[in-house]
Symmetry: D2
Subunit: 261 residues, 4 copies
C-alpha cells in the first residue's frame, strides 16, 4: 500500500503583487517564478523529494522523508532571498489526491491565497517514519514514443507541443479520476505521476486511453521507494527497459499486485 | 498588419544526455531546465522580447528588435555556463505560426534534434528594422476571472490546475486553428498569446469558445508595440482596465480594426 | 574544546577549461563561479554549515553535522548541472587550520588540481556525532565600526574597498598565525572567522592588531554551537550586542574561558 | 588616451536590512549577494561591459557602450526580483579612478547608503559614443605563474589563498597610487585591472613591486578595445602569449606608447 506525504507550496498574495504599483515586466515574473521553482527543486530534490511546477504560484511536492524542520528552513530561505514569501500545507494519505486535499485545506483554513495578512503559514501533518511500510511511494514516468522522429523533427515547435499537451491533458484527467493519481508535465515529452499501487493492466489501460483520446503513444516505467527520488530513479530505469525491450509498461522490480487495483 | 520575428531555442541532443551514462536525478534536470529558461528570459526580456518555456527543451521566443549578434551572444553564454548547448532558428512572417514554421525549418534542415553532430546552429532571417511598420507585434494577455475565489481557495490544488489546464488546452488549439496564433501558459491563471491583428469580436469569440468548451471564464487585454515587451505591458494595462470596468475584452489604445479580421 | 569538520571544494581542472578552446568571456566565468558558490552555499547552509567563496575555484566550508552521503549528493548535483565538476576533501581536527591541512591533503594525494584524470574525488574523514562534545564550533563575526559614515559615504568606492581589504589582509594573517584560525571576507565590511576557543583578551588583541596595522576599527561577536550556523547566528546576535552596548567584543552567552587561550 | 565610463552599483540600505527584524542566515545573504552579482554580470557582460563584485553590496562596473536606458532596465529587473533594490551612479573620465570619483559622488550627493529614503537613484553622465576615440578602454589581466604547482598542490587552501591575497593587496594599492588604476580579484589566481595607457616598463615595474613586496610572481596580458569585453578578451589572448613565449608582459597588438606614461 502506498502512503504519500504531499506539500502544497503557495506564493502568498502573489496576484496583487504582480500588478503593484504597476503591472511588472512579464519576463521578470517568468524569471522569478522559474528560479523560485528551481530553488525549491534543489532543496526538496536533494532531500529525496520531487516537486512539480504546476502553476508556479502553486507547486505540488512529494515530500516523504522531509520533516517539519526542513520545511521551516525552506520557508525561511525563500523569505530571505525573494520579494515574495511562501506558505506550506502538508498532509499524508493513502492516495496522492487525498493527501493533497488535506494539504490544500491547511492553507485554505488559514485564509485566502490573496489575503495579505496570511503569510508564511506552515501547517500540516508529517509522516512518522517508524509507521511507514517499505517503499510507500510509487512513481510512474511516462514518455512519448519517438517524439523526436514524429514531432520535433517534423512539425513546427508549437504543433509538436500541441500533441504533447493533448497527451498530458488526457492522461492527467484519466489518472486523477480513475486512481486518485496526480500527473505532471516535466518538459520534453515526459510526464511524471505519483500514484497508488496499480497493476500492469491498469497502466496499459491508461496508455490505451491516451492513444484513443489524444492520438499519442506513450510508454511508462514504474518504480517504488522510500522517497520520491528512489521511486523515480527506479521508474527511469524501468523506462530504459521499455526502450531496450520495445515494451510499453515496465516495473522496476518483481511486482505482483493484487487483482483489480 | 503584424510582423513577428520568432526564435526557436532548442537544447541540442538533450534526450540522450538526460540518460547518459545513467538516468540523471529528475530534480537536477528540473533545476537545469528552469534556470536555463530563466537565463533566456532575462537575456531576451531585457532586450524587449518575450520567451515562453513551452517544453523547456524547446522554447519559443518573440524577438522583434533582437539581431543576429545578440542571438550569437546568447548562444555563447549558455554554452559557457551549462553542460548542454542550444541551437537557434529564427524567422519573420505576418502570422506567428508562419514565422515559427520558418524558424523550426532552419533547425530541421540542419539535422535532427537528436543528432549529436548538430550543435549550436544559428540560422535564420532577421527583421530589418527599417522595413517594419509601427507596432508590428500584438500580444493578448488572458486571465481567468476570480481564479482565487472559484478555484484556489475552494478545490485542492490539482483540481484547480485541471480547470486552468483545460482552459489553456482549449484556447491554444482554438487560436492556432482560427488565427495562426500561438498561446502559452505563463503560470497562475494567465495565458499570453502572440497573434495577428484581431477585432474585439474575434477575441470575444475566443472567450466564448473556452467558456463553452472548458467551462472557464476568461478576460483578455490586448496591446501592440514595436517589441513584445511594449505590446505585452500595454496588454497588461488593458487587462487591468477589464478588472476596473468589469469588461471582458479591452484594447490598450483606440483601435478600429477592419471588419472580420 | 573545539572540533571542526572542514571541507575543501575544488573545481576540477578549472584553469585549462577557462581557456579551452579559446579564452572564455570573463563575465560568463564570473557568473559560473558565483552561481556555483551560491548553490554550494544553499546546499551546505540549509544543512547548518557555512561555506566561503575564498578563490571561487577553491572554496572552504565548515561542515560539522554534514555526512558523506550529503557530500556525495552535492557532488552529483553540481556535476549534473554545470560544465565543470568538483572534488571534495574533508577532515576533522581541533583547530580549523589542522582540519584544512587534512582536507587539502586528501585532494593533493589524489592528484594535481590540474590533472585531467582526477575528477570528482570524495575523500575524507567525517565527524562521528556521538563523539563530539557540545558546541564544538566557534564562529567570530567581525565588522567595521561605522563603515558607512567613515568610508562608503565619504570616499570613492575603490578607496573604501582598500580600507576594508587592508583590514581583512591584516586580520586573516594574524588569526592564522596566532591561533590557527581561518577568516573570510563575506562582503560589505564583514569578516567571519572559524576559530579555536579564545578569550575576550585574545579577541581584543586581534582588534588592536588590525587598528595598529591597517588603521581600521573593528568589533566582534562570538558564538558557539553544534553547527557553523548555530555558532554564526549566535555570533551575529552578539555583534548586535556590541552595537547596542557600544562594546568591541561580545560573546553570545556566559563564557568563562581559561586563562591565556 | 583612455576614456572610461564607470558605474557604481550600490544595494540600497543593505546593512539595516541584513539584521531586520533579526540577523538573517549568513548563507542566505551569501546566496543573495552572489546571485545578484551574477545577474549584474550577465546583464552588463552581454552588453560588452565588465563588473567586479568588490564588496558585493557595492560593485564597480566598466560600462563603456551601455546607455542610460539599459541602466534603467537593469535597475528595474533587480527591483522586480530581489528583496532589495540598487542605486546606480555613473561617470566618465580619463582615468578610472577619476571616473569612479564622479560615479560615487552622484550617489553620495543623493543621500547616505543607509538612508532608507534614498532608493533606486540613477544619476550620472554617459559617454557620447560619437566623441570617443577608438579603443578607449584598457584592460590588464594579471595571473600568478604556476599557482597550481607552487601553491594549490602544495599548501593547504587557506595558505595558498594568503599568497594570492597578498599579491592582490600589493598590486591594488600600487596601481591605484601609481596610475589611478582599479584592480579586482576575480577568483583563482587572476586579477583584472582597468587602467590608463601604460608602457611595458610600467607594467614590469608593477610586477616587480609585487614580487618584492608580496613574494609572488605575476605575468600580465594587456588589451584595448571599444568595450571592456573587447579589451579584456584581447588581454586574455595576450596572457596566453605570455604562457607560450615564457614572457611576463604582453600587449594584445602592436603598441608604441609615448614615454613615461
Ligand atoms: N524531464 C525529463 N525530460 C526528459 C527526460 N528524458 C528525456 N527527456 C525529454 O524528452 C525529450 C525527448 O527525448 P527522448 O524521449 O529520449 O526521445 P524520443 O525521440 O521520444 O525517443 P524514445 O523516447 O526513445 O522513443 C528530450 O528532449 C527531453 O526534453 C527525463 O528523464 N526527464
Ligand atoms: N505570469 C503572470 N502571472 C500572473 C500575472 N498576474 C497574475 N498572475 C497569476 O495569476 C494568479 C491569480 O491572480 P489574479 O488573476 O490577480 O487573481 P484572480 O483571483 O483570478 O482575480 P481576478 O483576475 O482579478 O478576477 C496569481 O497568483 C499569479 O500567479 C501576470 O502578470 N503574469
Ligand atoms: N555578509 C554580511 N554582510 C553584512 C551583514 N550585516 C551587514 N553587512 C554588510 O555590511 C555593510 C555595512 O553595514 P553595517 O555594518 O550595518 O553599517 P555600518 O555603517 O558599518 O554601521 P555599524 O556597523 O553599525 O557601525 C552592509 O552594506 C552589508 O554589506 C551580515 O550579517 N553579513
Ligand atoms: N576569473 C578567471 N579565472 C581564471 C581564468 N583562467 C584561469 N583562472 C583561474 O586560475 C586558476 C589557475 O589556473 P592557471 O592560471 O591556468 O594555472 P597555473 O597553475 O597558475 O599555470 P600558469 O598560469 O599557466 O603558470 C584556475 O583554477 C582558475 O580559477 C580566467 O580567465 N578568469
Ligand atoms: Ca520519448
Ligand atoms: Ca485572474
Ligand atoms: Ca559595520
Ligand atoms: Ca596562473
Amino acid at each position: 500500500m502506498t502512503i504519500t506525504q504531499l506539500t502544497l507550496v503557495q506564493i502568498d498574495n502573489y496576484g496583487p503583487w504582480t500588478v503593484t504599483p504597476e503591472p511588472r515586466r512579464e519576463m521578470d515574473l517568468q524569471t522569478l517564478q522559474s528560479r523560485l521553482f528551481a530553488d525549491v527543486a534543489q532543496f526538496i530534490g536533494s532531500r529525496g523529494g520531487y516537486v512539480f511546477f504546476t502553476r508556479f504560484d502553486n507547486m505540488i511536492a512529494v515530500t516523504n522523508g522531509i520533516d517539519r524542520a526542513a520545511h521551516a528552513t525552506l520557508q525561511e530561505t525563500i523569505g530571505n532571498r525573494y520579494p515574495v514569501t511562501i506558505s506550506l500545507g502538508i498532509d499524508v494519505a493513502d492516495t496522492p489526491a487525498a493527501a493533497l486535499d488535506g494539504a490544500t485545506e491547511r492553507l485554505q483554513a488559514a485564509g485566502s491565497a490573496q489575503d495579505e495578512d496570511r503569510t508564511e503559514v506552515l501547517a500540516g501533518t508529517f509522516l512518522d517514519p517508524s509507521e511507514t511500510g517499505t517503499e510507500p511511494v510509487h512513481i510512474a514516468h511516462f514518455d512519448v514514443n519517438d517524439a523526436t522522429g514524429k514531432y520535433t523533427d517534423q512539425l513546427n515547435e508549437f504543433d509538436s507541443f500541441i500533441h504533447i499537451e493533448r497527451s498530458y491533458a488526457s492522461l492527467m484527467e484519466y489518472l486523477r479520476t480513475a486512481h486518485g493519481g496526480l500527473s505532471f508535465f516535466v518538459g520534453g515529452d515526459n510526464i511524471i505521476a505519483v500514484l497508488p499501487e496499480l497493476s500492469a493492466e491498469a497502466y496499459q489501460a491508461a496508455l490505451d486511453h491516451v492513444a484513443d483520446d489524444a492520438g499519442v503513444e506513450l510508454k511508462v516505467g514504474v518504480g517504488r521507494g522510500q522517497t520520491a527520488h528512489e521511486a523515480g530513479i527506479a521508474a527511469k530505469h524501468a523506462l530504459e527497459d521499455c526502450r531496450y525491450e520495445g515494451t510499453t509498461v515496465e516495473f522496476a522490480q518483481p511486482h505482483v499486485p493484487t487483482s483489480d487495483d
